[in-house]
Amino acid sequence: MSDVDFRTGSAPVPGPPNATLADILERVLDKGIVIAGDIKIDLLDIELLTIRLRLFVASVDTAKKAGIDWWETDPALSSRAARNALQDENRELRDRLASLEEGTEQTEETSRT
């Protein structure tokens, strides 16, 4: 390696400092070279746990840090998402109204001449 940090006292730690928990978990859980250990840990169970964790998040903050935020886009769970849906519908209606008004104006103009 060419760039060596010589301040060995405080260990230089590469790897993304702002890594989300989800990013870390999907690497440390079932990646890495697998060598049989003496104490068998069922990683499949752990993976199931993390999936369950994603579904039944105890703390919204932990989940957000983990990059889990689907509820923010789910209208059933988020007022923000519901608002977005309303905004979309509003915009759609306004467009329709505008195009209808355009139509009436044109007929008015033709009837005047």
Partner: protein, 267 residues
């Protein structure tokens, strides 16, 4: 097996990573899995293991299952493991072991790891001067309904007040159609991004997209991939990611450099 006496009952050896050589100082100050025990090096012939002695009763399968069902503990364990692995790779390649690789003693760990020396050397060779970069692509927000794409809605406009039920159904159908088109567009972008990045990378892997649900349409994750990238190309890789962001309009997140966790298992 001289360590047997003080072995199984009270102490277990937790292994974080294996490297060719390592300065013990880079890991000495880290907490590892349990506070109060140093993270240290275990000589393995031509290799060294980065290990820690841990209380055996705290690291049984049951204890793990319990510990890891607590989100905070799970996070602490995952981050500690990653911290030690990352530090081990600070000055040269290190092969990460998965979370919770444990042996009953140093002697047992040495025996098991030395038996795999060839595999470790092959992996170390492969990942030397490489880092892993994670890339997540989120489909761009759905475009507002354009008349051209919605023949049903366009026809509506001409007609004065159709039946409310019919209008509702057509609106729903239009929404569904838009969702599908949007999803397909997202998948196309995912393929484009993956193909471009894979060309630059030494190897590529697809990971499971996060929290993907069929009902997600806005900003859903369409690609969760990871790439093994040579050190001297990492700048180019970041540049390409930026360019793809501009070209596709998708939001693209890049994370790294990671120790190449995802590229050590198949040698």
């Amino acid at each position: 097996m001289t360590q047997r006496a003080s072995g199984p009952a009270d102490r277990a050896t937790y292994v974080f990573a294996v490297a060719r050589t390592l300065d013990p100082a880079v890991v000495a100050d880290l907490d590892g899995m349990t506070a109060g025990e140093p993270v240290r090096l275990l000589p393995l012939g031509s290799l060294v293991g980065v290990v820690q002695s841990v209380p055996a009763h705290d690291f049984t399968d049951d204890a793990w299952q319990q510990r890891l069902s607590d989100p905070q503990d799970l996070e602490r364990c995952a981050r500690s493991h990653n911290e030690v692995v990352s530090a081990s790779a600070a000055h040269g390649p290190a092969v990460p072991l998965p979370l919770a690789t444990l042996y009953l003693s140093d002697a047992r760990a040495r025996q098991a790891l030395e038996a795999e020396a060839d595999r470790f050397h092959a992996v170390l060779k492969r990942i030397a001067h490489h880092a892993e970069w994670g890339v997540k692509v989120y489909s761009p927000p759905a475009s507002p309904p354009a008349g051209a794409h919605r023949p049903a809605a366009a026809a509506d406009r001409g007609r004065p007040a159709p039946g409310a039920g019919l209008a509702y159904l057509e609106r729903k159908r239009g929404l569904q159609l838009r969702r599908e088109q949007h999803h397909e567009q997202g998948l196309r972008i995912a393929e484009e991004v993956d193909a471009a990045l894979a060309k630059l990378a030494t190897a590529a892997r697809r990971l499971r997209p996060h929290s993907h649900r069929p009902s997600d349409t806005q900003g859903s994750q369409v690609l969760n991939a990871t790439y093994l990238v040579a050190e001297q190309r990492s700048h180019e890789f970041a540049e390409l990611t930026r360019a793809l962001r501009g070209r596709t309009g998708a939001s693209i997140e890049i994370s790294g450099p990671w120790v190449p966790y995802s590229f050590v298992s198949e040698v």
